[in-house]
């Protein structure tokens, strides 16, 4: 057990170290911060932003003389912002996951991992932890922005809601990265891995729509697999165990399939 843990940590450390020296990681971080910062400002402060529209609604209500029901602005803002972030993941995560195994296959370093006393599970878990950590680091500056904005709300927002929302964001990312890691293990072309992952994520996000079209009990079952539905549960501050189980299942499935596909690779090499 201790050995397995040491192996996972070794893989995890190497994975993290590689982000520090990778130009791609810096480019992703820069683009991610720019776009998410833009979302943040636009949602909050632009003329169509949440503050202005609520203010306009208030003025309207006073003119007519009918009081507007109170709107929980910070809550609405966190929801709207996290919703946009969910969409941003669609573009960021395939780029993060594409190289996880494809790069190892291309470099031949998979041969090192496969002939070392380390299980495929440990490698996959270490890699996933590494990339999820990198993604979580990307979120840190945004947390500072949110802290500044939400700090000024009156009455103050209950911290559980944004915390749950961000936990949801990380879980959503981990689920997608896990599937992306599996796709990356199928090919030695990073581009192909990214394109396939993009398509699969798109499908998983749109499962909702497909389910609605099918309708009936089958549609209900399919709707449960929707990542977006369970994500919006969490961003609304709803603590739903089934959502957590779904995300955990995706993560587990991704790791399982990755370990299997690397094992199967042994028998395919020609």
């Amino acid at each position: 057990m201790g050995v397995v843990l040491a192996n996972i940590i070794a893989i995890y450390r190497r994975e993290l170290q590689s982000y520090f020296v990778s130009p791609l990681a810096y480019a992703i971080a820069g683009a991610f911060w720019f776009i998410s910062g833009l979302f943040f400002v636009l949602i909050l402060l632009s003329p169509e932003g949440i503050l202005n529209s609520v203010a306009a609604l208030d003025i309207q209500g006073q003119q007519i003389g009918v009081p507007v029901p109170p709107i929980d602005v910070p809550y609405e803002f966190v929801r709207a912002f996290l919703d946009r972030m969910g969409w941003l993941l669609l573009f960021v995560l395939p780029i993060l996951s594409m190289g996880l195994y494809a790069e190892e296959r291309k470099l031949g370093t998979l041969e090192l991992l496969a002939t070392s006393p380390i299980t495929n599970w440990a490698v996959a878990l270490g890699k996933l932890l590494g990339v999820v950590t990198f993604f979580t680091t990307l979120l840190l500056p945004l947390l500072v922005l949110e802290a500044i904005a939400l700090n000024n709300s009156n009455p103050p927002i209950i911290p559980t809601i944004p915390l749950l929302g961000h936990l949801g964001l990380i879980l959503l990312a981990a689920a997608i990265l896990s599937i992306g890691m599996f796709i990356s293990s199928l090919t030695n072309s990073t581009i192909l891995a990214a394109v396939l992952t993009f398509a699969v994520i798109l499908l998983l996000l749109f499962v909702d729509l497909i389910a609605k079209n099918i309708g009936g009990p089958l549609g209900d079952i399919i709707a449960h697999f929707s990542l977006l539905k369970h994500y919006s549960n969490l961003t609304q501050g709803v603590w739903d165990t089934s959502s957590l189980i779904l995300f955990a299942s995706y993560i587990f499935l991704g790791i399982f399939l990755t370990a299997q596909s690397i094992d199967a690779l042994r028998f395919q090499r020609q």
Partner: protein, 337 residues
């Protein structure tokens, strides 16, 4: 230490290796010699547990490489055909990573890593990023990564590829210094390498082991010491035909007529041949008689001792067709891996 019995590997309809059997005693260096595409890399990969064999068994330190893959992987250091390096890591950082995943205890790491870098002359490059190293240095990092955890069995697939002559000598000395405390199997297509570093040679061709013995024994048993070098006047191809009719001659080949003195032949009708005869025979008289009878002039005839190269050529000259298909297989294999 390493026992290989009746190993077969079939890719689709092609046989990469066929009934390969050999043994490596503890502390010994076995050279695995063969032309490109003979099945060397396939055998190495099976030993390292990277590929499963179609049939047959291979055991390292008593563990089956397929059944007890995990135990075997703890016991081996393996340098694949292309060294598996992370280009963005420093030499030292990479070796630390390898030491960790090979399960080397934390306390032993600094000492063993330093020792491995010293052995491979990497100390002055320890903080350099691997991407910036030359091919020779990368190869040395590859060797260092295979020995860093001090494994009892070391598998080296073409360890001297890409090195300059000076480095090749260093690597050979390094490998020799590892013998005794380590069991080593190394593959190569370079002949002098085998006679210089290995205690024993297994020659593989077309997926089959055609001979296993010490380099010296191979030379004496298979070709003895009898061979000739002849310079003649006349057409080389015709002369070869005539010489080949003599029963005790096993191999005839043209060699460059630019002799030791570096002169080009004044006469295009002048050729130099080298022949190898069966051990214990002295067909010199018959050769000269046959050549003279056919109207050839003889400038020079002298005794030439057989080299390992002759053994190799003699053992591998057949089955050219098979060899070609093997070449294809390994190219594809290289791309897939």
């Amino acid at each position: 230490m390493i026992e290989v019995e009746h190993l077969n590997k079939v890719y689709g309809s092609t046989r990469a290796i066929h009934d390969v059997t050999f043994n490596v005693e503890p502390g010994e260096i076995l050279g695995f010699l063969g032309p490109n595409g003979a099945g060397k890399t396939t055998t190495m990969r099976i030993l390292a547990g990277y590929l499963p064999a179609t049939s047959g068994t291979a055991r390292i330190a008593g563990y089956d490489v397929h059944q007890d893959s995990y135990s075997v992987r703890q016991k081996i250091g393996y340098l694949p055909e292309t060294p598996p390096l992370y280009p963005e890591m420093t030499v030292e950082g990479f070796l630390y990573f390898v030491a960790r995943i090979k399960g080397l205890p934390a306390g032993d790491r600094p000492g063993k890593i330093k020792a491995a870098m010293e052995r491979c002359n990497l100390l002055e490059k320890r903080h350099v990023i691997i991407r910036k190293l030359s091919k020779g240095y990368k190869q040395r990092v590859g060797i260092a990564h295979a020995i860093v955890h001090d494994p009892p069995a070391i598998i080296l697939d073409e360890p001297t590829v890409g090195l300059d002559p000076r480095q090749i000598i260093d690597v050979r000395n390094l490998i020799k210094s590892l013998a005794g405390s380590h069991t080593i199997i190394l593959s190569t297509h370079i002949l002098p390498e085998v006679s210089m570093t290995c205690n024993r040679v297994a020659i593989i061709n077309g997926g089959k082991v055609v001979a296993t013995n010490t380099p010296e024994n191979l030379m004496t048993q298979l070709v003895g010491n009898s061979g000739y070098e002849i310079e003649i006047e006349g057409e080389a191809d015709f002369a070869k035909q005539i010489i080949q009719q003599i029963g005790s001659v096993t191999l005839v080949e043209s060699i460059s007529s630019v002799g030791m003195h570096g002169q080009t032949p004044q006469d295009p009708n002048r050729a130099r041949l080298r022949l190898i005869c069966q051990p214990g025979t002295e067909p010199g008289k018959e050769i000269v008689a046959a050549l003279v009878a056919a109207g050839f002039g003889i400038y020079e005839i002298k005794r030439a001792n057989a080299t390992l190269e002759d053994v190799f050529l003699q053992l591998t000259k057949e089955e050219k067709k098979l060899e070609l298909t093997e070449d294809l297989v390994t190219t594809e294999e290289g791309e897939a891996a």
